[in-house]
């Protein structure tokens, strides 16, 4: 199913047009896009930047599994899942998911499924940097 999926992890800036152009097709009536952006605060504390790192070969495999499962589970045409690694500033884009389908409901549902599953299974971590220190998100030593 890889011709209908585009999976990428990069330290370059993510490209919304690339994701859009990959999924768009004459047979589709709509495209759903999820764009993750770096928020300026966590629990009212100002965030300076986020540093993303991943177990890249395994993360690519897990992202591919999500895309393949989305194609099986929902009536969609194509899906693109791209994730950035490295230091990202406020407003930068760590993740883009694009899904095309003949009818909009499947695209919305597959897009939500993909980002929810990515946040549970894909081995990528972010460290939040504040004025006075840094912390790994989701981890409590």
């Amino acid at each position: 199913m890889t011709i209908n999926t585009s999976i990428k992890i990069t330290s370059e800036k993510l490209n919304l047009n690339e994701c859009y152009n990959f999924v768009q097709d004459a047979s589709c009536g709509g495209i759903a896009l999820f764009v993750g952006t770096v928020r300026n605060a966590t629990k009212n504390k100002e965030v300076i930047l986020l540093d993303f790192s991943g177990y890249e070969p395994m993360a690519i495999k897990e992202m591919q599994k999500i895309a393949d499962r989305a194609l099986e589970k929902f009536d969609i045409h194509k899906i693109s899942i791209h994730h950035a690694v490295g230091e990202l500033k406020i407003g930068d884009i760590p993740v883009i998911i694009a899904v095309s389908s003949a009818h909009r409901k499947a695209a919305f549902e597959a897009c939500e499924f993909a980002i929810d599953t990515l946040k549970e299974t894909v081995p990528i971590w972010k460290k939040e940097h504040f004025e006075d220190g840094e912390v790994w998100v989701n981890s409590h030593p």
């Binding site: 993750g36 177990y55 395994m58 760590p94 946040k119 971590w125 790994w136 989701n138 981890s139």
Partner: protein, 80 residues
Amino acid sequence: MEIQLLFFGIATDLVGKNTMLYKIEENSTIIELKKSLISNFSGLKNINEFAIAVNEEYADDDLIITHRDVVAIIPPVSGG
């Protein structure tokens, strides 16, 4: 036998390395490896809350590790 360990996220900070060669008994399971790591690295006392991957696939506690497997310590992920 010897395996390669990989540490990610907070596990890297807790151990002070991102990779090392590690000796365990033949036919050890994931749960036995976790016990061994807890006794050798006090920082990994919460490793039971972490996932483990063997050769880039998530592994259950009863999986038997084999010589030269690459075993990754996967703290709670936070991508997206």
